[in-house]
């Protein structure tokens, strides 16, 4: 009897189809149909505060006790140990330059109850930046954050393949990567990958205004102009840049996942598409 139960439990986890779908397995992969006929903003995030959604800020750290950021659940940093190996260690340095705090403040303003975790990959010297970013991203995916905000990119082609693999891995693990696009004539990553949500800026002053771009690779435009963002020393700084448009989209995603935690990254992207400020109902 106990063996049968064990077998049954085992079967539940292991007998899910991987590479093909036998007829008798169809019942085992019934998935919830969560999208209504017309996806509205009210349906998507009405009443949501982002509660229960774990958001990772992959950046320069987050200043602790900043009034515009509030609670930070955990702070880690990617550091080299004495043997030169990269380690992810708990970190009490806060923010080394203000950029991560600014991004965290934007997410917090939109999704007040989201859980924030800081992964510090910037600001610890210029060298080895790409390796440190990759290690931090890998850790964030392992930790299964629902959203990872990446207001940064690399132009180093030697990292592209590994970064691409990580982005695809994240996509299938339901870790949504929200990445800043470039408005310069250079190739940079990961924002160019289809498995992430890439973000540029619009000029309007409303944080919930965002646009779908029908001519990617920049897929969405978030608020990125003239923002008072959280900065070092508990203060604010008036800034413009895609770095801050990105956490706006991340914050909206946190609201949506707070209400619909089972959405996959591709469903979430569809919900963003249908609730974008330029989306019109078909006539």
């Amino acid at each position: 009897m106990s063996a049968a139960i064990e077998f049954h439990e085992h079967a539940d986890e292991e007998d899910l189809p991987a590479w093909s779908l036998p007829a008798d397995a169809v019942d085992r992969i019934r998935v919830p149909v969560t999208l209504p006929e017309q996806v509205t903003r009210e349906w998507a995030w009405g009443g949501s505060t982002g509660a229960g959604v774990r958001v990772c800020i992959l950046d320069s750290g987050i200043e602790l006790d900043h009034p515009l950021v509030g609670r930070v659940d955990r702070s880690v940093a990617v550091l080299r140990d004495e043997e030169g190996e990269l380690q992810v260690l708990d970190d009490a340095e806060g923010d080394l330059c203000g950029h991560g705090t600014a991004c965290a403040g934007v997410v917090r303003a939109l999704a007040p109850d989201a859980e924030l975790t800081s992964v510090r990959v910037l600001g610890a010297g210029y060298k080895g930046g790409g390796e440190i970013m990759l290690r931090g991203l890998q850790w964030a995916i392992e930790q299964e954050f629902q959203i990872v905000n990446m207001s940064l990119s690399t132009t180093r082609t030697k990292y592209v393949e590994r970064l691409h693999e990580l982005a695809d891995h994240a996509y299938f693990k339901r870790v949504l990567l929200v990445a800043s696009a470039h408005n310069m004539p250079v190739e940079s990553f990961p924002w160019r990958f289809a498995s992430v949500i890439s973000v540029g800026s619009h000029e309007e002053a409303d944080g919930l205004t965002f646009y779908y771009n029908p001519t990617p690779p920049v897929e969405f435009f978030g608020r990125g102009l003239d923002l008072d963002v959280a900065w070092l020393g508990g203060g604010t700084l008036r800034c413009t840049g895609n770095s801050f448009a990105t956490p706006h989209i991340a914050g909206i995603c946190a609201l949506i996942l707070g209400k619909h935690p089972d959405l996959t990254p591709f469903q979430l992207k569809s919900v963003l598409y249908q609730t974008a400020s330029n989306a019109k109902e078909a006539a």
Binding site: T155, P185, V186, L237
Partner: protein, 209 residues
């Protein structure tokens, strides 16, 4: 392309100043277009992890060239590491940055546009435009324009660095220095025997595995 080939192809042995002039022209045009108090280009010294003033127009012109500060710090530092342009208005709110910058340059700007200088996959430095007119609110079109200036400045900076590497390779005790001296003599002397020897050397090198 090797540094020597670059040197020969571009005839850089006297071109350092021309590239510097191109960089200077870029910051001057950037400053004029944005109506700014100053514009500058910083070169990243990767070895020292420092940013070096390479061209300045406006406030600090003529005094700041060659001045260094740590690449990991400040707004220029993170523009470099995030590869993302940033426009900051009202820098007085950022006390940490203002103090360190004031100490090193003697000029504390109120606003700043910063953009990384990228050539292919390398980040070479940062272009900054300081203190646009206070009434001019930044528009995204300006950020895009800044990106275009950055592209131009990056190309100039790349040329300048190549010229310097080539000069270092060909000058003084550099391993290729005799080649440069030989080339100069050959041009001056028109020595047939020396040309014959040079062709022989080329054959030897070609026949080596």
């Amino acid at each position: 392309m090797s540094d020597l080939e670059a040197a020969v192809a571009a005839g850089v042995l006297g071109a350092d100043e021309a590239h510097r002039a191109l960089l200077q022209a870029t910051v001057e045009v950037a400053r004029a277009i944005f109506g700014a108090k100053a514009a500058s280009v910083f070169l990243l010294d990767e070895e020292a992890e420092e940013l070096v003033f390479e061209a300045v127009s406006g406030e600090g012109e003529g005094e700041l060239i060659g001045m260094r500060f740590p690449a990991g710090n400040g707004i220029a530092g993170w523009v470099l590491t995030t590869r993302q342009p940033l426009v900051v208005d009202d820098l007085s709110a950022d006390t940490r940055w203002s103090r360190s910058q004031a100490e090193s340059t003697g000029y504390v700007p109120k606003s700043m546009m910063s953009v990384p200088l990228l050539v292919e996959e390398r980040a070479l430095g940062v272009l900054q435009v300081l203190d646009r007119p206070p009434e001019s609110r930044v528009k995204l079109r300006e950020v895009d324009m800044l990106g275009l200036f950055a592209n131009q400045a990056a190309i100039a900076l790349d040329l300048l660095q190549r010229a310097r590497r080539a000069r270092a390779a060909l000058a003084g005790e550099g391993r290729l220095a005799p080649l440069a001296r030989v080339a100069a003599r050959l041009e001056d002397d028109e020595n047939d025997a020396a040309f014959e020897l040079l062709r022989a050397l080329e054959r030897v090198l070609r026949e080596q595995p």
